[in-house]
Amino acid sequence: MNDRRVAILGGGLYRPGRVRYDNAEEGVAMAYKNMLEDFPKLDPREIEFVQSSYFSDHLNQQLCMSWIVQDYIGQHRKGGYRVEAGGSTPLDAIINAYFLIRSGQFDLVLVLGWEWMSEVDTATTNEFIASASDTDWDFTVGGFYNGYYAALETRHMQLYGETIEDLGKLAVRNRNNAVHNPFSQWRAEHGTGYVGLDDYYKDRIIAWPYRRWNCALISEGACCLLMGSEKMAKRLTSNPMWIAGVGLGSDSMRPGDRLVDWAYHGVYKADERLYPANVEKPKTPYPEMANFGFAREAAKQAYAQAGIRDPLKELDVAELFAPYDGVELCLYEDLMFCPRGEGKTLIRQGVVERGGKLPCQLSGGLTAFTHPVGATSLLQTLFLHWQLAGLVRKKLGDATLQVKNAKKAITTGHGGTGCQGGVIIYSKD
């Protein structure tokens, strides 16, 4: 690999909501305009490539929407294309832009992400999203992602003993963080009061073990990031956030196939051994339907590049892709914050809370901040940029969520039931 470094120089956002009436290209344009305000020295013509990120064509009756968006903001003539991989779409877009810059092809890339998800009714939105699962097999029986993810969490719960209370703590934490984020959907809909576990228990179960509060929001919103080489970072910003490492991984399309997962078989022996004696072992014990193998694969690569040996100690702040709260708990294990089965311990010890050793989802995450699919990892990355640059008070008008002296951050992204995804490590220096 060459030694070119790549940085997030900054970004802008269009506040996501359940339904927004500015349309997608207008929302992206406003996010872009918001970003330009932070870059007075940037001539928009200097941008060399536009990396677009959006998930669904079904949701808006429009193919090739990135062409509309790119021309709407006057960024046509130069190259541009979309990447798409379900929930992993925006993370893959950032990683692809990183490759484009790292390779030496470009010095300055604009990443645009958006999703407008309420043009059809909620049930249909769920149905369209579920068409990212195997429509001949998993789709047919009516579980959809709520059901698939709930079934994965049931399995992990049976094996490793986390409880509804653990999942509730994450749901409550996300809301109590989101009230300090004026861009969050939770705050727009529920105001700034804190909630507690009692409120969580009152919330409706939609797919046991998940209540509504444990599940990702449906959102319309946009975000953009400006990414550049060292040369551009020097010229355009005083607070770049460097990409210290990236990694990618994948697993089977159908989660039920992971019981005999030949690609993983025998690869993670320590995790295979951490299996309770009183539950019948499938042929391949890790990740099976309990953990996320893609995340382990991706984390190994990203940590190696970033020189991270003890992630829980060395990372200061995390924005994980957790469309369901159980996913976050499992990711602690797959990202090696703790051994397999100990995810619950990090919750019980307050490690992942605001003020904890490794605060996660300070933005409120996908369940209380927002989840406009194509923009989600961009929003989480922008949030981490504010953390590392010490801009939280300036951007949110409230310093509660600011992690002091944060130097290293992690974000993840994935699509399907962990079918494909990645990890990025960001660094202040």
């Binding site: 996010a31 097999w137 029986v141 399995r155 046991w208 039920g256």
Partner: protein, 243 residues
């Protein structure tokens, strides 16, 4: 000259006829609109101002013809009340859902062989569904199970017809066929095998609160079904009580 594809059994003409009408109904054309006054702008809600937006209503319906490919035998099997899987002759993996090619890298995409599987299995994991998409609302509440068929190494997503508070991981089940079958996984469902005792460590049953809350929201679901579809709780419970 290559042989032309030929329809050798036709169970599709009625839906093809029915769907012609939808195509004529003018998909993609505007059928109505609303004017909506709503917040505009990128910033915090308190900083946004209102604008008037025209919102159009534009339908879109389609009928796909989709081949099940070389696993067609599995789905035709369901219609004929047989459950098939495939077995790799090299690494001996048994697949259900079937794969025509083995995915074990050591087998280099080797062809598998069809085999009939027994109508028994066990619940590998599950979720109790109290909400779903439109097409499934009337089926609520249901248990989405990933069931490992005896002799197979993988798990099949199917519904488990049981009281939602009775399902557990490791539960032995029998596979049943529905009376009307159309060629997808809804043609089958699982019912618990008789005479099993609930294991002490079942994650749904270990804590009293889990069952209390689930029962509370099951009642909410029954109330919804009654209000929306006029379906009574007793009717719903008959689905699993009769099995």
């Amino acid at each position: 000259m290559a042989k032309e594809p030929k329809i050798i059994e036709d169970k599709a003409t009625p839906i093809k006829r029915e769907w012609e009408e939808y195509a004529r109904k003018g998909n993609w054309t505007v059928k109505g609109y609303e004017m909506v006054r709503a917040l505009s702008g990128p910033g915090k809600a308190e900083e946004c101002k209102e604008e008037d937006f025209m919102v159009i209503y534009r339908p879109h319906g389609v009928l796909y013809h989709h081949s099940y490919g070389l696993v067609s035998k599995f789905f035709k099997g369901l219609i004929e009340k047989h459950l098939f899987g495939t077995k790799c002759p090299k690494c001996k993996t048994v697949y259900c859902p079937p794969r025509v090619h083995c995915w074990n890298p050591k087998c280099r995409v080797g062809e598998t062989e069809w085999m009939e599987l027994p109508l028994t299995g066990k619940v590998h994991t599950f979720s109790v569904m109290l909400f779903s998409a439109d097409a499934f609302l009337e089926m609520l509440p249901f248990v989405l199970g990933y069931v490992q068929i005896d002799g197979a190494h993988t798990a099949l997503p199917i519904q488990v017809m049981t009281a939602p508070t009775d399902v557990f991981i490791g539960q032995k089940v029998r596979i049943r066929f529905r009376g009307k079958r159309k060629g997808d996984l809804m043609d089958i469902y699982a019912v618990p095998a008789k005479g099993q005792t609930m294991p002490e460590n079942s994650c749904l049953h270990e804590y009293e609160r889990n069952l209390e809350d689930l029962n509370r929201d099951l009642e909410n679901t029954y109330a919804f079904l009654d209000k929306r579809f006029g379906i009574k709780k007793a009717q719903v419970e008959r689905r699993w009580k009769a099995k």
